[in-house]
Each structure stands twice: as structure tokens, then as C-alpha cells.
């Protein structure tokens, strides 16, 4: 395998742009950077256009005959539908403030990963096709166009779009620094929509989206298997705590519906977070009669449609409200997830209104979640922070004393929501050793894990490690300074992506979800003396007993 070592990767970063101008530097689709093409069956299943076999590294992408026309029309339509894209196409002054804010640029040095240039890839075509200036320049010939920053959409340009639009994780860090708020996420979202019009998705988005559509979750876990997984976790919890938890599924008449990313049902370390939810709900049920149900139909919080098109996003997201309505719950509680919360916070309500639900009120503390008055969906950290503030959880933070924890803000919850203090408050309540990473890499300036927006595939590992560098580097800093050994986060893709990134860049640091730490500290009524944490690692002071 040709994946570079960390040292090689660092040495390979050359922030100096090439001699040739970007329009004259043809795209080279590199192994380790690009993701495999979408499987036609997945594209077909959700009814998206032009499902077919195609291979990004082959010359011929088997495009439909009239692909240029499709893109042109699609572009026009989106300019008419989204003010964001229209304004962002027009007002960039190329000041360059965004350039070194992108984790993919920092980690690769590829100038086309500067947000400004990623946008220029589309903007150049926009200028050519949709602006007066472009038309006037075009009158004088191709070279004049180029001077004006305009160019025609050719197959090479299209390939460049595809290659670089799937090297953006829609993290919005650049938009924090842009003096006009130009958001590359918007540009990438539109660009990917256009590409999807001619069947050019990547499989790590297309197949999960199809799976979500069919089974309710991106891994394609069928309902019985979903239940089996949670039963299996219940066994583990019983081993660790001596308490049998009994989650309920698809239960009509429950007060609250719980939806979380399915990744947590499937792979470590997300599974421990999932166990955390189960223990938390059990605790609340035993002590306060808390009434919550899981759903196998709406068993995915994450929304892979969001990486395909606004329409696909809505088609998947609609299941949340549909299931809430079918079950007759009062409101919805959402688990730890990144882009799931971007969709819930900024998009979902337009798909409503959920007038069949009630304004969320914590049945335990009576707190009205006024910030979710309209969507009727509350974030698990908002919910837990409120519980802890009211002293409703019995916590023993010393059970996390073997951990020195830092916290990674997810892109979406920080820049698409502003959920910054709730997780920190919880962290400080459940563990005694918490250290922040440097200020320029947390909160609204946080770095992406490097694999967001559907780029968490296996074949693009070099890209992922490039993109993961800034985050990992900050973790390394606190690891060296404070001996941090645990990176906590509230996003399922983080739990998957950061694990790989840490193994690569800072192998001494492990990754955890926030609720896992809560569950470690949470004292269940009637539990036995715990000897291990949820990972079956011995608790502080219990190492000896365990070894014997």
C-alpha cells in the first residue's frame, strides 16, 4: 500500500503553489485521495439520475450525452433557488483569508484545497455562463475569458470539480474567517448536487444514503439485527454493572423518541457511547419513571442525503417526524452526532411543521427547552447538562480518573449550532482531568476530524490523514503537555474518523463519546461495585484485582 507514513506526509506538504496557473494545471486524480464511484444499484435504489458503472481514473466517465446542458440548467435552477450560492458566486474578492483555514489545505498544500480556489473552480464556469462580464469577455476570445477568470465547462473541469468537491468536508471553518461569510460548505453542497444530476457521487455517500432510505440506518442494519445489537450491549452492561437494562423499541405512546447515529450501534468506540445512552435512560427510568423509546425505522440520526442533495436530505430526514407522529411521542431527543445536528438545527424545521408534537419539557427537571420550541428536538447534551445542573444524576467522576481528557468540538455542532458549553459542562462534571486544546483549534475555530461529509472511506486514507492533521496536531500538543490520553467528542463520525487519525498521528490517545464518560461515572441504582469502565478496562484502584 502506498499510503505515506506520518513523516512522509508531513514532508510532502508544500504550501508553495505550482508555477503554472490553476486554470492551466490539469487535474490529476490520485490514488489515496479520491473515493470510489457510487455503486449504480445504490443510486438506482433512491431513484437518483444516471446510475451506471464508472471509474474516476478512467478517461471516459460514461456521462450522459447532454451532460453540459444538465449542469447548465441545474446551475441556473440553483442560482434561482439559493441566494447563498448566488451571492457567494459574485462577491468573493480573493483576499485569501480563508486559504490557510482549511484542514485539507494545511495537510496537503494543494492550492486547489484553498477554500477560495475550490470555489473558483465553480465560479470560473459561473462567470462564463451566467454573468455579463463573462459574456463580454467571451466576445473577445478564450484568452480574454481566462484573464477575466472565466472558463468553459469541459470534461477536465468537471473532473476537477468532482475531485475537489469530494475533498471538502463542509466544515465551515473558512466561513468563520471570511469577511463576507462566504461558506464553502454551501458551494460544495451545490457542486455535489450538480454532480449528482449526472450520477457522479462517491460510494461512501451513495450506498449509506440508500441504506438509510431502506433500513432506516446507513449500515443497512435490519430491525431484528438492530435489536440484537442493543441486547448484546445490555449483556455487556450487565457484566460490568450487574444491572440489566431493557431498552424499548418502536413503542407507541412513549413520551420521548430517541434518535442517534447508527454508527454507535455498530463500531467501537461508538458502541460504548450507545451503552452510555442505554444506562442513562435506565437510570432515569428507575429513578424518575423516564419514558423513552428507540426506533428501528428512524434508526439513523446522520443524514447521508445531506451530502447528496437537499432533496435527498429531506427524504431521509422526514423519517424522524414521521416516526414521532406514528408513535405519538411528545418530543424527540437526539444523540451525539455532527451533521445530523446541522440538519436538525438549520434544516429540519422547514420540513415540518411538527405540530403533532409538544414543546419539549424535561419530565425530570421540568425545564422547558425553549430553544427547541419549534423543532421539538433536543440535543442529548442539552438534556444531560440540565439534569446535572439540577443534581438529578448520581455521578462518581473518580471512575474517569484514569483518563486525561480533551474535547473536540464537531464542526457542525459548533459552527452550525453553537453547542459549545453544554458538552464542556458535562465533561467537567463527570471527569476530573479535563484539558482544552489551544484556542485557535476549538469552539468555532475547531478543526474537522478530516473525514466529515461522507469522506470516511478506506480508499482515500491519504486524504483523510492530511485533513486530520490539524486536529491531531492539537491533540498531540495537549498529549505532550498534559499527558492527555483521551479525546472526547459528540459526533459519531468523529468517533470513527478520529480513531484512525489518532492511530496514525498520536497513537497514545484514544477516542470516546461524551455519554460514555457520563455512563462511566453514573451510579445506577442497585449496581454492583464496578471493576472496569465500559471498555472492560480496569478502573483506577481496581487494576490489581483484575490482574489476579
Amino acid at each position: 500500500m502506498s499510503d505515506p507514513t506520518p513523516e512522509e506526509l508531513l514532508l510532502g506538504i508544500d504550501p508553495k503553489p505550482p508555477q503554472t496557473g490553476w486554470m492551466d494545471t490539469p487535474v490529476e486524480i490520485k490514488k489515496g485521495i479520491y473515493c470510489y464511484a457510487s455503486n449504480p444499484k445504490s443510486v438506482e435504489y433512491v431513484g437518483l439520475p444516471y446510475p451506471r458503472q464508472w471509474n474516476p481514473i478512467e478517461e471516459d466517465w460514461n456521462l450522459p450525452e447532454n451532460w453540459k446542458e444538465i449542469i447548465y440548467k441545474g446551475f441556473r435552477e440553483r442560482l434561482d433557488r439559493f441566494r447563498s450560492i448566488k451571492v457567494f458566486m459574485d462577491i468573493c474578492v480573493r483576499c485569501g483569508a480563508c486559504a490557510d483555514k482549511c484542514h485539507f489545505f494545511i495537510g496537503s498544500g494543494d492550492p486547489k484545497n484553498m477554500p477560495v480556489l475550490r470555489a473558483e473552480l465553480l465560479r470560473s464556469v459561473y462567470r462564463n455562463d451566467f454573468t455579463a462580464a463573462g459574456k463580454i469577455l467571451g466576445f473577445f476570445g478564450k484568452n480574454f475569458k481566462k484573464i477575466g477568470g472565466a472558463r468553459e465547462l469541459t470534461l477536465d473541469v468537471l473532473k476537477e470539480w468532482w475531485y475537489y468537491l469530494f475533498q471538502c468536508s463542509e466544515c465551515r471553518r473558512c466561513s468563520v474567517f471570511c469577511p463576507y461569510g462566504i461558506d464553502t460548505a454551501e458551494i460544495t453542497i451545490m457542486g455535489r448536487e450538480l454532480l449528482n444530476l449526472i450520477g457522479l457521487n462517491i460510494d461512501w455517500i451513495a450506498t449509506p444514503a440508500a441504506n438509510c432510505y431502506r433500513t432506516g440506518n446507513h449500515l443497512g442494519i435490519q430491525p431484528h439485527a438492530y435489536k440484537d445489537m442493543l441486547d448484546f450491549f445490555a449483556d455487556d452492561i450487565e457484566d460490568i454493572t450487574g444491572i440489566r437494562v431493557d431498552p424499548s423499541f418502536n413503542r407507541k405512546g412513549a413520551e420521548i423518541l430517541f434518535i442517534t447515529p447508527s454508527g454507535d450501534v455498530f463500531a467501537d468506540p461508538g458502541t460504548f457511547t450507545c451503552m452510555g445512552y442505554m444506562m442513562l435512560f435506565h437510570f432515569l427510568q428507575e429513578k424518575y419513571g423516564f419514558d423513552i423509546t428507540w426506533s428501528t425505522y428512524a434508526s439513523e440520526g446522520g443524514n447521508f442525503g445531506f451530502f447528496t442533495s437537499h432533496e435527498t436530505m429531506k427524504r431521509l430526514n422526514t423519517k424522524m417526524y414521521a416516526e414521532a407522529k406514528r408513535l405519538g411521542v411528545k418530543w424527540i431527543l437526539g444523540g451525539e452526532c455532527g451533521h445530523m445536528w446541522r440538519v436538525i438545527h438549520q434544516y429540519m424545521d422547514t420540513n415540518g411543521p411538527p405540530d403533532f408534537l409538544e414543546e419539549p419539557v424535561s419530565p425530570i427537571t421540568g425545564t422547558k427547552f425553549e430553544n427547541a420550541r419549534s423543532t421539538k428536538m433536543v440535543h442529548i447534551t442539552e438534556f444531560m447538562a440540565d439534569l446535572i445542573k439540577h443534581g438529578k444524576l448520581d455521578l462518581d467522576p473518580t471512575r474517569n480518573d484514569h483518563l486525561k481528557v480533551t474535547y473536540h468540538d464537531s464542526c457542525n455542532t459548533s459552527r452550525g449550532m453553537g453547542l459549545l458549553e453544554e458538552p464542556r459542562y458535562i465533561l467537567k462534571s463527570v471527569c476530573n482531568n479535563f484539558y482544552e486544546m489551544p484556542a485557535n483549534c476549538i469552539r468555532e475555530q475547531t478543526f474537522c476530524c478530516g473525514s466529515g461529509s461522507g469522506l470516511n472511506a478506506g480508499e482515500n486514507m491519504e486524504l483523510r490523514m492530511q485533513g486530520g492533521l490539524p486536529r491531531a496536531n492539537a491533540v498531540k500538543y495537549v498529549h505532550e503537555k498534559h499527558d492527555v490520553n483521551m479525546l472526547s467528542c459528540i459526533c459519531a463520525i468523529d468517533r470513527a474518523a478520529l480513531l484512525t487519525s489518532m492511530e496514525y498521528w498520536v497513537p497514545e490517545v484514544d477516542v470516546t463519546g461524551l455519554t460514555e464518560l457520563v455512563a462511566n461515572a453514573l451510579i445506577l441504582p442497585g449496581e454492583k461495585e464496578r471493576e472496569t469502565d465500559l471498555r472492560s478496562e480496569p478502573l483506577p484502584g481496581m487494576e490489581g484485582d483484575d490482574a489476579e
Binding site: L11, P15, Q19, K41, Y45, L79, R83, S84, K86, V87, F88, D90, I91, C92, V93, R94, C95, D100, P111, L117, A133, G148, P179, Y180, G181, E186, T207, P208, R214, T215, G216, G220, P223, K227, A267, G302, H310, E311, T318, K319, H345, Q346, T350, N371, A372, R373, S374, T375, E382, D386, R415, G418, E421, N440, R443, E444, N456, A492, D494, A497
Partner: protein, 371 residues
């Protein structure tokens, strides 16, 4: 090597010659003095309005502000009312800071790779300083120039001019704004030349307005301090422009026509170019929306119904398996499933195949799992 600035430089030099030579003949003076400025002003006004209206015609279907601070959630958590504005008042302050003080640019950092493996991000204030100096100086200069078009000169203009000349050196008194404008525009130009990444992304259309404004500032300074142009004549001329009583001013040289021509070109060029960021910043949905998207429903005007995989279809496909593990179902299994059950199952086949089995198997270990 990006030489796009050469095109712009040549273009501005050609424009200079055009104006300078044109001003030598009467016809040229009429064109440069009246016709072109008039057309330019119209192009600017109509073009600017057209562009803004055109943007406004496209709706904002989703509430997508970039949140740069703590949300307003639980009452005991301190929220950031400006960086994450949940009220219209907050948005107004946020926009004010953005437009007047370039709040976002103030955050700018410079990233470096140190010792081969340490990333650092240092506060980089110079772009902010340069940009702010440029825009404020430009604004002051434009504001000061209103004295040519208004009789009597309003007190506020006089005050600004007095402030501008507070150094009280040279004769006529040195006005700081002109000098700062020229210095700032030169800084912004040098930045584009010497920072490799910025040079790489710069287009001719980024240099053109810089050279043009450099030319405007330079000719202005030349006229005021060196050739000492006849101010009274120019005032007379400018009043003529706004009252439609055109007459050719006496005792004004080619430099004045160059100055005026450059301004005209800038005005006419404005609506077709990136300079429209002046209007665009007000329209940017990541900045000008309230962040209360979970409190108040944002309406998407073109929202349309979409095809959804219904619970019924889902249960139809998995009913047997659900019943087997004791999951509640809406419809119990009939003794002999009718033939109609077959199609959805067939339709449901693809994605299962689409997920390669070996991939699923390696998921837990390789952490290939997606959110």
C-alpha cells in the same frame, strides 16, 4: 508565475493615456467631462440596484448562519448574543461590526508548520489593518468630495475635512485620508504580489480596481499638493454636473480629466465586478440571519413534497423478522403472505448487494463506520 496584474496595469495605463490625450481637445473634454461621467453614474446606480434586486429575487430557503459562539439554550449557560445572535438586535450588531469593522477578518490567523511537525496559528492582523485603512480612507475621501457637489458645504463635511487634516502640515493642508488610501491600496497590491498563495489566486480583475484606485488617489494628490489645480473652477464644474448646467472649466489640466475618467471607469465597472461585495455583505445568509432556527420555523418558499420510504413499506419488508424478535408491528403476519409482498422485497434488494459483505465485516476493526 501569475502575471495577471500586467494586463490590469496595461489597461489602466491605456485608460490614462486615453484621458490625458483626450483632454487636449474640446470634444475630448466634453466626453471626459460630461458624457462619460454621466453614463458612468447611471451605469453605477442602475447596475448596483439591479444586482442587489437580482440577489434578492433568489430566496433563502434555509436558515444557515455560521455560528461563532455559544447558542442560546439553557438559561444558566451564557450565550453569545452577537457571535451567535438569536435576536434581530443581535443580528444588527453582528452585521454592523462586520460591515463597519470587518469583525471576521479581525480573527485572521496565519498558519505555519514549525520544526517540521508542529502546526501553529498566529494572529495575523495586517490584512485587517490594511483593509480597514483602505475602506475607511476611501469612504472619507468620497465623503469629502461631496463638498464639490453641495452648496453651501454642509457642516458635517467641513468637520470631517478638519479631522482629516488634523496634522496641520503642508499647504494646502495635508489630508490624511488621501495618503492613507494610497498607502493602503499599495499594501493590498504588494500583498497580492508577494504572498505566494494570494498571488496564485489573484485574477486580473483583482488588480484592475487596485491600479485604478491607485491612479485616482495619485492624480488627486498630484492635483491638490503639486499642480495646485484651480479648486474654484472645479467646484463650479461639479455644481454644473449635478445641476445639468455643463460648461468646460477653465484652468484645469489633463490630470483632472484623468482623475475624473478613472472615477467614471470605477463607477461603471463596479456593478459588473467583485466590488459588488459592498452590496453583497448585507445579503450574506451566513451572517444576516438569526440563529433561532429551532425556536422559530424558517419557511422555505419552494419547499415541495418528496418521496419518502414510509414506515408501512419498511414494515412490509421486514415484518417477519420484526415479529420474530418481538418488535411491535402495525399489521400482524397473515398466515399466507399474498403475492403483492414480493415487489417491495425485490425493489429492496439493490442496496443490500451494494454494500459489499467484506466491507461490512471489516467495519468494526477498521473503524470504517460512517456517522
Amino acid at each position: 508565475m501569475n502575471i495577471s496584474y500586467m494586463y490590469s496595469l496595461i489597461a489602466v495605463m491605456v485608460l490614462f493615456l486615453l484621458a490625458y490625450l483626450g483632454a487636449q481637445v474640446t470634444v475630448g473634454k466634453v466626453f471626459l467631462g460630461f458624457i462619460i461621467p454621466f453614463l458612468a453614474a447611471i451605469t453605477f446606480i442602475v447596475g448596483f440596484i439591479y444586482r442587489v434586486v437580482d440577489w434578492a429575487r433568489s430566496p433563502v430557503p434555509f436558515c444557515i448562519p455560521t455560528t461563532c459562539g455559544q447558542q442560546k439554550s439553557l438559561p444558566w449557560i451564557k450565550s453569545a448574543p452577537i457571535e451567535n445572535p438569536s435576536t434581530t438586535g443581535g443580528v444588527i450588531v453582528r452585521m454592523f461590526l462586520e460591515i463597519v469593522f470587518f469583525r471576521s477578518l479581525f480573527r485572521n490567523t496565519k498558519q505555519k508548520l514549525k520544526e517540521g511537525d508542529k502546526l501553529s496559528y498566529e494572529w495575523e492582523i495586517w490584512l485587517w489593518v490594511g483593509a480597514l485603512a483602505f475602506h475607511w480612507a476611501f469612504f472619507t475621501v468620497v465623503f469629502r468630495h461631496l463638498r464639490f457637489f453641495l452648496e453651501p458645504v454642509p457642516a458635517c463635511i467641513q468637520i470631517v475635512e478638519n479631522l482629516d487634516g488634523f496634522l496641520q502640515i503642508a499647504l494646502p493642508g495635508l489630508l490624511l485620508s488621501g495618503v492613507v488610501l494610497l498607502a493602503a491600496v499599495t499594501f493590498l497590491f504588494l500583498r497580492r504580489i508577494f504572498i505566494p498563495q494570494v498571488r496564485y489566486i489573484s485574477l486580473a480583475s483583482d488588480f484592475f480596481p487596485l491600479f485604478l484606485i491607485m491612479g485616482i488617489a495619485f492624480t488627486g494628490i498630484l492635483m491638490r499638493y503639486f499642480t495646485k489645480v484651480d479648486i474654484v473652477g472645479i467646484k463650479d464644474f461639479a455644481m454644473g454636473l449635478v445641476t445639468f448646467h455643463f460648461h468646460i472649466p477653465e484652468g484645469v489640466g489633463g490630470l483632472f480629466y484623468v482623475h475624473l475618467f478613472f472615477v467614471s471607469i470605477l463607477l461603471a465597472y463596479f456593478p459588473f465586478s467583485k466590488l459588488m461585495h459592498l452590496g453583497g455583505i448585507f445579503m450574506s445568509p451566513t451572517r444576516n440571519l438569526t440563529t433561532n432556527s429551532r425556536v422559530k420555523r424558517h419557511i422555505n418558499p419552494w419547499n415541495y413534497p418528496v418521496k419518502v420510504h414510509s414506515y408501512e413499506a419498511y414494515e412490509d419488508e421486514f415484518r417477519e423478522k420484526m415479529v420474530e424478535v418481538g418488535l411491535p408491528v402495525e399489521k400482524m403476519i397473515e398466515p399466507e403472505p399474498p403475492k403483492e409482498d414480493a415487489p417491495p422485497e425485490e425493489e429492496a434488494e439493490p442496496p443490500e448487494e451494494a454494500e459489499p459483505p467484506e466491507k461490512e465485516a471489516e467495519l468494526p476493526e477498521e473503524s470504517e463506520e460512517k456517522e
